[in-house]
């Protein structure tokens, strides 16, 4: 066996090394030395991210089972940055009495899911893709239930595991249909077979059913309407840091994997999935927005907001071009910073006072001006207001979709931004305009949350204005 194949998997191997080190540290370290566990985990992940910044070259290993390219490398870096921010945000939370005994599990399981996402986006074969997908979702069940004395957390985990199993079975069924139609599970071979006119696979109903089932299965992971029903309950019940992770990282990874597969494998039948996706995007954005309007609980609110954001992310998928890909990665990057800033603030407030309702934020500006301003900037970025990063990412993703001629879709999505602005402004209104005699008192947040929120806010302010980030992604976004 040629071991040099493994060298292509440098990202996975380095992450595995981090996981193993943490595992050994957690198992054999003394109680005293394990106090620094959280910090060490963050530093190790940061070091691994830095290692991945070494430019990668395109290549494949194990006979096309595993792929890598500069674009995939960039996606992994983006996911890493997000995960790192989530871990930093979780530091104060893992110190609480209930969770501190499971601190090791939290970090190791989170990194395991990250490992699964790596495999998912790097795979060149549906089998490896499925393994990656399962590695990414099963540990999350345990994470959702990590506060095991809270009933909500428990319930959320049960819902999550059932939905994950159901969607996996749909996905597997879709894959078996595709296998039945084409006779192979390698992306490259499928694309060749479908593209081959003489074989006339492109018209086979079996393939279409397969694609639709596959889309449905992925729809659960990305929480596209009508497969979104689990989202709000799970987001509300899970610990805030896990919710943040679910809403940003696992969603971004799944969206990117979907794009790669649709574009790489099913490009010859684009007309089929583009129609399906078109409809899905419209209802996802609209339903997500309309439900978000009525939410009282901020975590549920963010759940529906993230459903509609998933719709916007899919605009990059439907474009299926180099621009679309760049915009998608860029959108996910910006979304990570904006959303994690919001979740960072939610978790600061929740840890200190236990309040998560929008009404609890009334008059927050008078008592906690910095938190409110950070929250406002993040919300404006989510709503796509310039000069914050969200404006640029939204513009670019619309640009990508319009380039392929989806003007009507862009128009519908744009009208939806007005609705989304409405509900984001509701939170801003609560903080800045409404007055409350028993507003949340001035909070003193700890260093980790402060670092986390500061990084996120700087990201929100700067990413859009520095065009070099977009250009850097753009330079690699071809040939997936």
């Amino acid at each position: 066996m040629d071991f040099s194949n493994f060298l292509w998997m440098r990202d996975e191997l380095s992450l595995l090394a981090v996981i193993l080190i943490l595992f050994l540290y957690d198992t054999f370290g003394s109680d005293k030395s394990r106090r620094a566990f959280s910090t060490v985990a963050c530093i190790l992940l940061a070091a691994q991210t830095a290692f991945m910044l070494i430019p990668a070259t395109a290549g494949e290993a194990f006979g096309g089972m595993y792929h890598t390219s500069p674009a995939i490398n960039i996606v992994k870096i983006v996911l890493n940055i997000g995960t790192l921010l989530v871990l930093i945000q979780a530091i104060p939370w893992v110190k609480t009495a209930d969770v501190v005994i499971r601190r090791g599990e939290f970090f190791i399981l989170t990194l395991m899911t990250l490992f699964g996402m790596y495999l998912m986006i790097s795979s060149g074969n549906f089998l490896l893709f499925f393994i990656g997908l399962e590695t990414a979702s099963l540990p999350l069940t345990a994470l959702v239930a990590i506060e095991k004395y809270k009933q909500n957390s428990y319930e959320a985990a049960a819902k999550y595991v059932f939905v994950a199993l159901f969607s996996s079975s749909l996905l597997l069924m879709g894959l078996s249909f595709i296998y039945g139609a084409v006779g192979t599970l390698y992306y490259h071979d499928i694309a060749l077979a479908i593209g081959n006119v003489t074989k006339s696979i492109a018209g086979s109903p079996l393939l279409y059913v397969g694609i639709v089932l596959f889309l449905a299965g992925m729809g659960f992971k990305i929480s596209i309407v009508p497969f979104h029903l689990w989202t709000a309950d799970v987001y509300q019940g899970a610990p805030t840091s896990i919710t943040a992770y679910l809403s940003v990282i696992s969603k971004g990874a799944a969206a990117f994997a979907l794009m790669v597969i649709l574009f790489k494998t099913f490009a010859p039948v684009a007309i089929v999935w583009q129609y399906v996706l078109w409809g899905l995007i419209v209802i996802t954005i609209t339903v997500g927005n309309l439900f978000a309007v009525r939410q009282k609980n901020l975590k549920r609110f963010m759940a529906f907001s993230s459903i509609s954001q998933a719709g916007y992310i899919l605009l990059g998928v439907i474009a299926g071009s180099a621009t679309g890909m760049t915009s998608l990665i860029y959108y996910v990057l910006v979304y990570i910073f904006s959303n994690l800033a919001v979740f960072g603030i939610i978790s600061v407030v929740e840890n200190a006072t236990g309040k998560v309702n929008i009404d609890d934020y009334n008059g927050l500006y008078r008592t906690n001006p910095r938190l409110s301003v950070a929250m406002m900037l993040a919300l404006f970025s989510l709503a796509g207001i310039p000069p914050f990063a969200g404006f640029f990412s939204k513009f670019f993703i619309f640009f990508a979709a319009a380039e392929q001629g989806f003007y009507v879709l862009v128009f519908i999505a744009l009208l939806n931004t007005v609705i989304s602005l409405y509900y984001y402004l509701l939170v801003v209104k609560a903080m800045f305009i409404k007055q409350d005699d028993c507003a949340i008192p001035a909070l003193k947040s700890d260093t980790a949350s402060r670092i986390n929120i500061t990084i996120c806010v700087i990201g929100v302010l700067v990413i859009g204005l520095l065009s070099c980030i977009y250009t850097a992604i753009d330079a690699h976004a071809f040939g997936m």
Binding site: F395, F398, L421, F432
Partner: protein, 502 residues
């Protein structure tokens, strides 16, 4: 870097200064210095522009950069700037209104620092919009100007402020949604097949490659998108509520300058870039704007709240701007820009005065006030002057503007435009009705509330604010020639572009 960038840099520095200042005195100092610098800069740009023109430089846009700094290379987004006669006039208008607005909000309470920060952000959006000639940056600055309005009205406003703030923000964002689609469309059709796509307005105009059937879709989107901000019927409903609830300086800036963004965008983006669609479709919008003009004036007649009267009068006057633009003869378009300037100054003056009166009497209902001429002579005289300007007294700016508009519109001989022009002309009479009604009731009537007798007249900062605006209104009215020349040179370019499609 080009010196036009100072229009964005100075307010940015001003924001930094405001951010660091601690007490009221410091905040005022920074605000005054910043707005004075902007005013000086605007005057300097005007002088330089006139010198260039006198030296025989006939380029369409002056002070452009040959190699603009490319911002997002893959999407052809560059920081391209440039000004023509209209933009120069608009920059000056903005600077004057901002200057007056700072003094009008001298005693703003609560949170003065935040107020001035948002106000400055608003002005950055406006300045940036007027100097940009790249569609993307133009759109970005346009949106920057919209969002501070929400908090400015929501926090410092009065009356039904939550409702108004939300309505205004959402309607304008809806407009910008339409706009973004048309901007994307303009970009992807900006060059002939195989040519290099561009976001630069001048290059799109030079290529003139947008297919006619595409123009029929994009023109209404762009025109309505900007028309929402220009308070075009039936998208004007945000304007009365918004202006009535906003604090003084914000009403001034919004009615005075921000609504002009709508008109400016209409001709710079919609009409200039899509001349064929303009000649084909302008009749629809002529009818709509014609309705704005008359409907706004009639609505103003039945209002009892001073701010509502003025807000509806703004709908009428801004409708006239769009109306005149759609006549696309050079004279009419020149009149449209004059009307923008005149309305900008005059309405800012109105809102400043209303704010000052409201600050004393704590009511804006004209039924509860009267005889203010004896109590606060300075403010009342200013109010009369503003009213006279509004109903078109010769010697003040309103007369010049409306005269040019109607003369220009009458150059058309076809019955459709003739009738519309005559209908629009009636607004002059209706304006006189509501202005004189207010002046008679508010200033000369009997004193309605005995407590009002103890009120004081304007303080020095209020006087400064009002006088700045009155001087500008009078200057425009007395010596309109040079500024009309400045404008008509720029407008004839657009007019000729459209004329070739008749």
């Amino acid at each position: 870097m080009n010196f036009l960038a100072l229009f964005v840099l100075i307010p940015l520095l001003m924001m930094a200064g405001l951010f660091l200042s601690k007490e009221m005195k410091m905040i005022r100092t920074v605000a005054v210095i910043g707005s004075t610098l902007q005013l000086i800069l605007a005057v300097a740009v005007l002088i330089l522009f006139l010198q260039e023109r006198a030296a025989g430089n006939t380029a369409e846009m002056l002070f452009t950069i040959d190699n603009p700094i490319v911002w997002y290379a893959p999407l052809d987004i560059a920081l391209a700037v440039g000004v023509d006669g209209v933009s120069v006039a608009m920059l000056l208008l903005t600077a004057i209104v901002v200057f007056a607005g700072v003094f009008a909000s001298w005693k703003i309470n609560p949170l003065p620092k935040e107020f001035f920060l948002w106000l400055t952000l608003l002005s950055i959006g406006v300045y940036g919009f007027f100097i940009s000639i790249n569609l993307f940056t133009m759109f970005m600055f346009y949106e920057i100007a919209l969002i501070p309005m929400y908090l400015l009205i929501g926090v410092w406003g009065s009356g039904n402020k939550n409702y108004s703030a939300m309505k205004l923000t959402l309607m304008l964002m809806g407009g910008s949604a339409l706009l973004l689609v048309s901007i994307l469309g303009l970009y992807f059709y900006s060059a002939p097949e195989g040519g290099e796509l561009t976001m630069n307005i001048l290059e799109i105009a030079r290529n003139n490659a947008i297919p006619h059937e595409v123009q029929t879709y994009l023109f209404p989107l762009a025109f309505v998108g900007f028309g929402v901000l220009g308070a075009m019927f039936p998208f004007h409903t945000w304007s009365p509520d918004g202006h009535a609830s906003a604090p003084t300086a914000v009403s001034m800036l919004h009615a005075g300058v921000l609504m002009k963004l709508g008109g400016y965008g209409c001709f710079r983006v919609a009409m200039y870039l899509m001349p064929w669609a303009t000649s084909e479709l302008s009749w629809i919008f002529l009818i709509l704007t014609g309705i704005s003009v008359v409907y706004g004036a009639f609505s103003a007649c039945v209002q009892t709240d001073l701010k509502y009267i003025n807000a509806y009068s703004s709908v009428s006057h801004c409708g006239l701007v769009l109306f005149a633009l759609l006549m696309w003869k050079t004279t009419a378009m020149t009149g449209a820009i004059l009307q923008m300037l005149s309305h900008g100054l005059m309405t800012a003056l109105f809102f400043a005065l209303i704010g000052m009166i409201y600050g004393r009497t704590h009511t804006r209902d004209i039924r509860e006030m009267g005889g203010l001429m004896k109590i606060m002579p300075f403010l009342s005289v200013c109010y009369v002057i503003a009213g006279m300007a509004s109903l078109g007294l010769p010697g003040l700016s309103g007369f010049i503007a409306e005269m040019t508009v109607f003369v220009g519109s009458f150059e058309w001989t076809d019955p459709f435009r003739r009738v519309l022009t005559i209908v629009a002309c009636t607004s002059i009479v209706i304006t006189a009705v509501y202005i004189l009604r207010v002046v008679g009731k508010l200033l000369y009537g009997t004193v309605q509330n005995e407590h009002h007798r103890e009120l004081t007249d304007a303080s020095w900062w209020e006087r400064l604010s009002a006088i700045t605006l009155i001087v500008s209104v009078a200057a425009l009215g007395m010596a309109p020639g040079w500024i009309a020349n400045l404008i008509s040179n720029s407008m004839s370019v657009i007019s000729e572009r459209i004329m070739q499609y008749i």
